[in-house]
């Protein structure tokens, strides 16, 4: 049957159409177990990579369309925030903190924002993508993943600011810094999984986006950002360590600020959180995404 179709297509254009070989035959049926065939799904997702990239860039630009400083705010926001928190901690600790601590705070805060912004923008991505979803067929996972890309693009320039502070503080520059790459990667994977989860939940409970800023604030305070991992009371540690960002930010601060090798326990724990969240979030999202067009 496929052969017959190809023949007619060739006749029509006088040349073979690439479509015939990339599966331009679509069959839509009810999915008995809620999941579409995953092979074609991921192929279609990969096909939309340029779309995701273009959408991420658009989102980035549109965030500060009407401001005088425009794109500069992507850098100013996190830096000002870091200074605000540093001032706060300085007052509470009566000025006992050093520039090394500022470096730790900046790095961890920027990395935290990488995840929290992935989640907050991801949460709104499906509900906010209404028209696109109602009019175009594409794997919906593009939307939360784009939020993660946008968030990563905002994160990259802040690394430059951090590098300056790192240099001023005279912190070590050695091979241990390279551990930062897989750690950030795990944070991205975790952020993507979490974004897919909350994006799906948001379709059913629109209140979620309203709760989210408060949850994010608590999350920030319970993550090792305004303090080091070894500074919390022993009794609280077992609870605080349940935070997925605890091992991730803990390792990040170790390898980048302190120039130490990461703790294998933290790395394993981070990886488990990242992959577990990605799989859970991905399955939840993909099994529900066909309903989105009806629910919006």
């Amino acid at each position: 049957m496929a052969e017959v179709r190809t023949a007619t297509a060739v006749e029509r254009d006088g040349r073979p159409r690439a479509d015939e070989f990339t599966g331009e035959r679509h069959v839509y049926e009810p999915h008995p177990i809620g999941l579409p065939p995953l092979g074609p799904y991921f192929r279609a997702l990969w096909q939309r990579r340029q779309f995701a990239f273009a959408l991420a860039r658009t989102n980035l630009r549109s965030q500060h369309f009407n401001t005088v400083l425009g794109q500069l705010w992507l850098l100013l926001n996190p830096v000002l925030l870091a200074l605000v928190y540093f001032t706060l901690v300085e007052i509470i600790r009566s000025g006992s903190r050093s520039i090394e601590f500022l470096a730790h705070l900046m790095l961890c805060l920027f990395a935290f924002r990488l995840v929290s912004r992935s989640v907050s923008q991801g949460t709104r991505s499906v509900v906010g993508g209404g028209r696109l979803i109602l009019n175009t067929a594409f794997p919906r996972t593009v939307l939360p993943l784009t939020a993660v890309m946008t968030s990563f693009m905002t994160f990259l320039p802040t690394l430059l600011v951090y590098a300056v502070v790192h240099g001023i503080a005279g912190l070590p520059v050695d091979a241990n810094l390279l551990w930062g790459i897989p750690i950030i990667l795990m944070m991205l994977v975790f952020g993507a999984g979490a974004a897919m989860m909350t994006a799906t939940a948001q379709v059913y409970f629109r209140d979620l986006a309203n709760f989210l800023p408060y949850a994010t604030r608590i999350w920030l305070y319970t993550s090792p950002i305004l303090f080091y991992t070894d500074e919390v009371p022993e009794g609280l540690k077992p609870i605080l360590q349940l935070n997925p960002l605890w091992p991730m930010l803990g390792s990040l601060s170790d390898v980048v600020n302190a120039g130490q090798a990461p703790s294998p326990g933290y790395l394993a724990w981070s990886l488990a959180w990242a992959l577990g969240t990605l799989i859970a979030g991905g399955l939840f999202f993909i099994s529900r995404e066909r309903e989105f067009a009806v629910r919006l």
Partner: protein
């Protein structure tokens, strides 16, 4: 897995019958449940659960619909508001999942649905064309090759760098139409979009669609404009409450439909203009 069973069923069907159809819809039913509240929120859900209420309305938008559209043909779909026309079109586009039945589509689908193409108002026309095309699954190089054609057809050369919020609704519609028809689609799905632009542009879009048909492209057209349906379609389906009320030559279906409207609306002469 659906993919396995589908391969197994294909050889048992006569190849000729399948080969001729670009769109094949079998026993399609689409039912969706909707809560009465428009925006579901946690608070309202909790209150409802607390009261033990369950307000779910089941909407059977499309019921047991089967038809085929051969390559190079234009199928018109008419019916009153809420008959399931747009739902049917969205399901062929792969946007709404079937509740029951099966849809098979051969070829690249391009859609022009009622809500516009999802243009973002703050972006320029040029950016929107690229973004919309990428969303539809084209590559950037494919889009660059088609870009000139799209702009020429829409006659918006001077406006492509302006944000779309500055566009008039006619310009907006022209660009949307131009994107949809210039995507080199095998199958074009159009929902209520023929009234875009002035009469001259309308004429131009008619000609473009005829040209597509001549190249064995297939069109499914949903419209209240009976005149367009009569002029363009090879066959017409009249949907009523989700079911196919009639499927035949345009003249016959349109006559029956107008007769039905006459009865439904008293002696008002139904307008034959595009809405």
């Amino acid at each position: 897995m659906p993919s396995g069973s589908e391969k197994a069923t294909v050889p048992t069907l006569p190849a000729a019958a399948l080969d001729g159809s670009a769109v094949k819809v079998e026993d399609l039913s689409i039912t969706y449940r909707t809560t009465v509240q428009k925006k579901p929120t946690l608070k309202k859900t909790l209150i409802r659960l607390g009261r033990g209420q369950r307000i779910v309305r089941e909407i059977r938008a499309v019921r047991d619909v089967s038809f085929e559209v051969p390559h190079g043909k234009v199928l018109g779909v008419i019916g009153v508001n809420g008959a399931g026309k747009s739902t049917l079109l969205r399901s062929i586009a792969g946007i709404l999942p079937p509740t029951k039945g099966r849809i098979e589509v051969h070829g690249r689908v391009s859609t022009l649905l009622s809500l516009g193409v999802g243009f973002k108002r703050d972006l320029s026309g040029a950016e929107n064309v690229i973004l919309g095309g990428l969303a539809a699954g084209l590559s950037r190089s494919e889009l660059e090759a088609k870009y000139e054609e799209i702009v020429d057809f829409a006659e918006l050369e001077d406006f492509m760098d302006m944000p779309m919020r500055t566009y008039s609704s006619g310009m907006y519609g022209r660009l949307a139409f131009s994107v949809a028809v210039n995507m080199d689609p095998d199958i074009l799905l159009i929902d209520e979009a023929l009234s875009v632009g002035d009469p001259r542009f309308k004429q131009k879009s008619f000609e473009k669609m005829r040209e597509l048909c001549a190249q064995a492209r297939t069109i499914v057209l949903v419209s209240h404009g009976l005149k367009s349906i009569r002029e363009l379609c090879d066959e017409v389906i009249w949907l009523h409450k989700g079911r196919i009320e009639m499927r035949a030559e345009p003249e016959a279906v349109i006559d029956a439909y107008k007769h039905f409207l006459d009865i439904a609306e008293g002696d008002d002469e139904p307008a034959e203009e595009d809405v």
